[in-house]
Amino acid sequence: MSLTPLHAIFALMSLFTVGGAVGVVLNRNLIYAAMYLVLSLFGIAGLFILLEAPFLAAVQILVYVGAISVLITITVMVTRCVFCKEPPPRQLTLVAVMAALVMVTLGFVIMTRFGGLTPAADVPADSIEQLGVAFVNPQAYLVPFEVASILLLGALIGAIFIARDDLPRDEEAVGGDDHA
């Protein structure tokens, strides 16, 4: 098996993904950890491209690298202690042992089951179109599609309810008195 540029790109993307993840775990400053997370998510997008899944890669960039990392960064910024001086509590050994255990188990299963290399299947040129048709096809993914919309709605209501409502609270208290 000869090395190709693909191998190099795969190595680089894996380095981004794993290195970013390690950076997230080991960094004490939450903002920096968030930045490492962006790197890690970006690496995953690269891996999706190598797997011939460009739409997933675009989604990964758009949603994860774009929106979710912004959300995480902002969440860190609105917390009371942006850069806590004392390190967060850790039980590194225990966590490391657990993680190693899970990795060995899963690694073993995956190595034994997928020992050989499977060539990526040919992706049809209109894969996105097919996905779009499948989303609204009742014989394919219509139920998950609609449930997802309700899920998003519920999550939004919940998040706004949790995060906000301090201002309407006063108004409502006044309104409540009017009716009483």
Partner: protein
């Protein structure tokens, strides 16, 4: 995969372009600092206090609403691409999706969550 080669080349060029002046400047530029030159702003008020401050929760709500509609785009994009191939039922199914998320917008606006306070 061929198409991605160009993107890789583009990103290498894009990274090299700003890096080059910095490196060149560092290599051949004279390094003589003084107090005025090292100031954060050469003209402007010096910042005071810690820059790691707590931000308003409003930012969070905006980011969150953005995220929800961002995810909605992900679902709607393939639907829009496939629009010409869809039967009426498929179009309606997408419309139901949009209506559900329009409710999210109505809720957000009605709860005054988008007003900056």
């Amino acid at each position: 995969m061929k198409d991605w080669t160009f993107i890789v080349i583009l990103s290498i060029v894009a990274m090299a372009t700003p890096l080059a002046p910095i490196l060149i400047g560092r290599l051949i530029g004279p390094r003589k600092g003084n107090e005025l030159k090292n100031a954060t702003y050469e003209c402007g008020v010096e910042t005071r206090g810690d820059t790691w401050v707590q931000f308003k929760v409003q930012y969070y709500i905006f980011a969150l609403v953005f995220l929800v509609f961002d995810v909605e785009v992900v679902f709607l994009y393939p639907w829009a691409v496939a629009y010409n191939r869809l039967p009426l039922f498929g179009v309606l199914a997408g419309v139901v999706f949009v209506i559900t998320l329009a409710e999210a917008l109505i809720y957000t606006i009605r709860k005054d969550a988008l007003r900056w306070i």
